[in-house]
């Protein structure tokens, strides 16, 4: 599955980075960068992606 970022909605709270540091990070300007966009279903990466989506306080992340 693919991690989808609704960029205008992202405010840079950074909770997703805490949940899935291997998949995404805030850059020096506080903008979210998706380091990994495709994750295999049923893998630890997929679980981390789901946690990141769940924790985003403004629902800017989703899975497609």
């Amino acid at each position: 599955m693919r991690i989808v970022l609704d960029r205008p909605r992202c405010e840079g709270h950074g909770l997703c980075e805490e949940a899935a540091a291997a998949l995404m990070h805030l850059d020096h300007d506080g903008e979210l960068v998706l380091d990994v966009e495709q994750v295999e279903d049923g893998t630890p990466q997929a679980a981390a992606a789901q946690a990141a989506v769940r924790v985003c306080p403004v629902a800017a992340l989703s899975l497609a």
């Binding site: 840079g12 709270h13 950074g14 949940a19 300007d29 306080p57 403004v58 629902a59």
Partner: protein, 409 residues
């Protein structure tokens, strides 16, 4: 055997009625006794169903975690444009603000509000806020006796927000009362709301008349007016933005910080966990927010019929979204009535969720994390007298917490 068929029909009808009938309760969510100790009542309502009709408040109450979070996520069905308050006057007053609008109107207002409030914009403030919190706590530890709500929970956010907006002078003294009233009037037209309207009105009037010259140069408040002038935010939106900074940024942070102080005074073992592992500071704040939501209940209006567990909320109905009840839902959190920071409930409902998620949460986190961190490092235990609570329509907060002695860490 016609009578047996009749019985069968009756049973079938009864089962159907049980399935489709909306649970009803005579609970008044804004009754003094409920406001002072809401959790037994919330548990009773959750037991009746995920949605319960409350004739006393003319609302459909969402009681359980999943439906609360679901409604917050679904702004198209659970609209804010129809009003987030529980009386017509407040909904009229808030109409067209980012609080009480839906996308696409909301999207532009929200962007204007968060331009200076997002964690990106606030990064430069972190060090200053941490230094202020540490100095404040160090000073109080040396004093030994003080009122924790006055000395920290009120003083700290007031100073942070006043500096951020750049306002000075006499108006600072009014801010606490203004912020409390701005939340109070979200409630139904009870006596508290009636008494608070003139005070909330004074805040509204100040925000409508404030100009950039009243605000310190280089402040965020000053910048909001400059943004309006150069057209990067809609004409007339500067005043409402200042209003939200003040109303929400003072009152709700005061509540959250007061709850931090009260809960850690009561649970020194939990504060010790943070001292042993400072990485638990964010988890500690999440648990304080889950355990005592600063805002218990907030409104929405349905845009169409919504079926939940077979019961239907009709289109155009006012909905009470019970944040404070969802946070205590035993279907979602194990042992929900126990305060335990290691559970780190990152998905608590207290800051809302989705497009209307608390716009000031980045600033709130900076302030709360700084206070928790300073407390854990400097305070072993706060020896306190009994806390005082005054019923408030919307806010869960402590009004006084006498600290008799500080046992240093």
């Amino acid at each position: 055997m016609r009578w047996m068929r009749l019985v069968d029909d009756l049973v079938a009808n009864y089962v159907y009625a049980m399935k489709s009938e909306m649970p009803v309760s005579d609970v008044d969510l804004f009754d003094d006794a409920v406001l002072l100790d809401p959790y037994p009542t919330y548990a009773e309502l959750r037991g009746l169903g995920p949605v319960v009709r409350l004739p006393a408040n003319e609302v459909y109450a969402l009681t359980r975690y999943d439906v609360v979070r679901g409604a917050l996520a679904d702004w198209e069905t659970f609209s804010s444009a129809g009003g987030v308050g529980f009386n017509p006057a407040v909904n009229e007053a808030l109409a067209g603000t980012s609080l009480a609008s839906d996308p696409p109107v909301h999207t532009q207002l929200r962007a204007a509000l968060t331009e200076n409030l997002s964690p990106r914009a606030l990064r430069g403030l972190k060090g200053r806020i941490e230094a202020k919190a540490d100095a404040l706590v160090a000073d109080l530890v040396s004093q030994g006796s003080f009122d924790a709500i006055d000395a920290i929970a009120r003083a700290f956010p007031l100073e942070v927000v006043a500096d951020l907006i750049g306002f000075t002078g006499a108006v600072r003294a009014d801010m606490l009362a203004w912020g409390k009233a701005a939340n109070q009037v979200i409630g139904p037209l009870n006596q508290r709301t009636a008494e608070s309207f003139p005070i909330a009105g004074a805040l509204y009037e100040w925000c409508a008349n404030v100009t950039q010259d009243d605000l310190a140069p280089d402040s965020v408040g000053h910048g909001v007016f400059l943004a309006e002038r150069r057209g990067s935010i809609p004409p007339g939106s500067a005043g409402p933005i200042i209003h939200q900074f003040l109303a929400a940024g003072v009152e709700n942070t005061v509540s959250a910080l007061g709850n931090i102080l009260t809960l850690f005074a009561a649970h020194p073992d939990q504060l010790a966990l943070v001292r042993e592992d400072p990485a638990l500071v964010p988890a500690a704040f999440n648990e304080v927010l889950r355990f005592w939501a600063p805002i218990n209940v907030w409104g929405r209006v349905t845009t169409k019929d919504v079926e939940i567990d077979g019961a239907v909320i009709p289109a155009g109905a006012r909905v009470a979204v019970m944040l404070g009840s969802g946070n205590r839902d035993e279907r979602h959190y194990d042992d929900p009535d126990t305060f335990s920071i290691v559970r780190n409930p990152v998905d608590h409902l207290s800051l809302g969720y989705g497009v209307h998620g608390c716009a000031g949460q980045g600033l709130a986190r900076l302030e709360a994390h700084a206070v928790i961190d300073a407390l854990a490092r400097r305070v072993g235990r706060l020896v306190v007298g009994p806390e005082t609570r005054v019923p408030h329509n919307i806010t869960r907060s402590v009004d006084a917490l006498p600290v008799l002695e500080v046992i240093p860490a």
